[in-house]
């Protein structure tokens, strides 16, 4: 019921991500079952739900790190098929930030940011360097550009990971629990960076349980459980008056 309204809320033409009847299985286990989600350009979505509900799997299907088994995924007008050209043209436009940063440990901070623009976008070393320094300045970490990931704090590393993704000038950013591996005192610097990005108009899909962040930037909160989307609403409505028992139970848990 909710899913149908979600598809109709944003007209197809303005959708930058359209997920229709998505099914994803791991062997016998169905991790995602008939997911429908449409994201308009510039929209910010917060995905939440209990552990194992399929949040990570869903956003990993959007850039084809996981291959889906059924349904359709259309990103920036390109449908994800098995063809590598389609996959790569989607991935070029979709940045991703992981819980565990996944920076390249053998490359300096600035080199982490330069690699993909040079190899994928064909920028020269000078262009890539200039772009990387610009973006590192934007996430306020340019003074660490020559260091290696191992020399930075978790919060700094995650900001570098955001910068690395931004250097590809993506149209969409995916975040998979970007702050849950961080010490509490470092969460804010990363969330502030994400808030800045949201204010700049980026389309964002964030898996996070940071409800303050959701309140501040999300246009919609999508609640998942056991491989399905159970409920979606604007953050105020969701937090104050979740409709389903499952969402209420979940909210109870994360508040404590």
């Amino acid at each position: 019921m909710f899913q149908e309204t979600a598809v109709n809320v944003t007209s197809r033409s303005s959708a930058i991500v359209a997920v229709e009847n998505l099914v994803k299985r791991f062997g016998q286990f169905t991790a995602l079952n008939d997911i429908n989600l449409t994201v308009a350009a510039g929209e910010k979505i917060v995905l939440c739900g209990p552990s194992g509900s399929g949040k990570s799997t869903l956003i990993r299907c959007i850039n084809h790190i996981e291959k889906h088994d059924g349904g359709r995924i259309v990103v920036t007008g390109v449908e994800l098929t098995d063809r590598m050209t389609d996959i790569n043209s989607v991935r070029r436009e979709v940045g991703m930030v992981f819980q565990s940063f996944n920076l390249f440990p053998h490359l300096s901070i600035v080199e982490n940011c330069m690699l993909a623009p040079m190899k994928v976008r064909g920028l020269s070393r000078e262009e890539a360097h200039e772009r990387a320094m610009g973006v590192l300045r934007q996430v306020r970490i340019h003074d660490q550009a020559g260091k290696y990931p191992g020399q930075l704090s978790g919060g700094q590393q995650q900001r570098v990971a955001i910068a690395r993704a931004l250097c590809m000038q993506p149209k969409i950013m995916l975040f998979d629990e970007p702050t849950s591996a961080l010490d509490p005192e470092m969460v804010k610097e990363v969330l502030d960076t994400m808030i800045g990005l949201a204010r700049g108009g980026m389309t964002m899909i964030c898996v996070t349980h940071e409800m303050g962040f959701a309140r501040e930037v999300a246009d919609r909160v999508v609640f998942m459980d056991r491989g399905t989307i159970v409920e979606e609403a604007d953050p105020e409505t969701f937090f104050r008056a979740a409709r389903t028992e499952r969402a209420k139970g979940f909210l109870q848990q994360i508040i404590h």
Binding site: I65, N102, V120, Y148
Partner: protein, 231 residues
């Protein structure tokens, strides 16, 4: 026994030096050939390339289960015969002892390096591959710029240790009548009868080269441990 006379060593030094240079050249060549082939072999197995993967695995199992000296004999006697058959007239094509040594050592080391690199590839965190995918890097760039540099860095102490063993194994070329450091020393020892001095000196040279390399291994390990300390 006569008292030791090390002045003999000074006279012998030029010849020993040329032997040492041959040992080092053979080590270097075998290292380069072995690393290039070994990396290829490791990748073929890593990607589970249908037929080639099995062939490589069989080759590595074979090479690792027989002594180097036997491989040297095989190459020295068999390869000319095989080449002869391939060229059509059936007559053996001699390839010379030096070439035999370089090729054999390279192929032999490839099997060992390949195992080191294969294990290293498996140890790379899955997140590294996913980060590359998310950045739309091609498979080639993923391995060339991200995965292999990390593998080589992590495996560098073991690779260097293997290379020290290789350096010592180069003394086996005496079976091909080639003169490496040890070969030079033993020829001189037979000429001048100064066995003890000659063998003591070459032992010191082997010790010097190997322990210098071991120092490198230790400092590589330390540097890697430090780089990893934060994460």
């Amino acid at each position: 026994m006569n008292s030791l006379d090390f002045s003999i060593v000074a006279q012998a030094w030029p010849y020993l030096w040329s032997g040492l240079l041959f040992s080092l050249a053979l080590t270097a060549a075998a290292f380069v050939i072995g690393m290039i082939l070994g990396t290829l072999f490791a990748l073929v197995q890593h990607f589970e390339v249908p037929v080639a993967g099995r062939l490589v695995r069989a080759y590595i199992a074979l090479i690792r289960s027989i002594p180097l000296i036997l491989v040297l004999f095989w190459f020295f006697f068999l390869v000319p015969i095989v080449l002869g058959h391939l060229s059509g007239n059936g007559r053996p094509v001699p390839i010379g002892a030096t070439w035999t040594a370089f090729i054999t050592f390279g192929l032999f080391e490839a099997a060992y390096y390949s195992e080191i690199i294969r294990v290293g590839l498996r140890a790379v965190n899955r997140g590294q591959f996913e980060a590359c995918q998310a950045l739309a890097l091609s498979t080639f760039h993923t391995y060339r710029c991200v995965i292999l540099p990390q593998v080589l860095r992590v495996a560098s102490p073991i690779i260097l240790s293997q290379t020290i063993i290789l350096f010592q194994d180069t003394s086996l070329v005496y079976v091909l009548s080639l003169t490496d450091l040890l070969g030079a020393a033993s020829k001189l020892a037979q000429l001048n009868g100064r066995l003890v001095e000659m063998y003591l000196v070459v032992a010191l040279v082997y010790l010097g080269v190997s322990s210098a390399a071991s120092q490198c291994v230790a400092s590589l390990r330390k540097r890697y441990a430090m780089a990893g300390a934060h994460r």
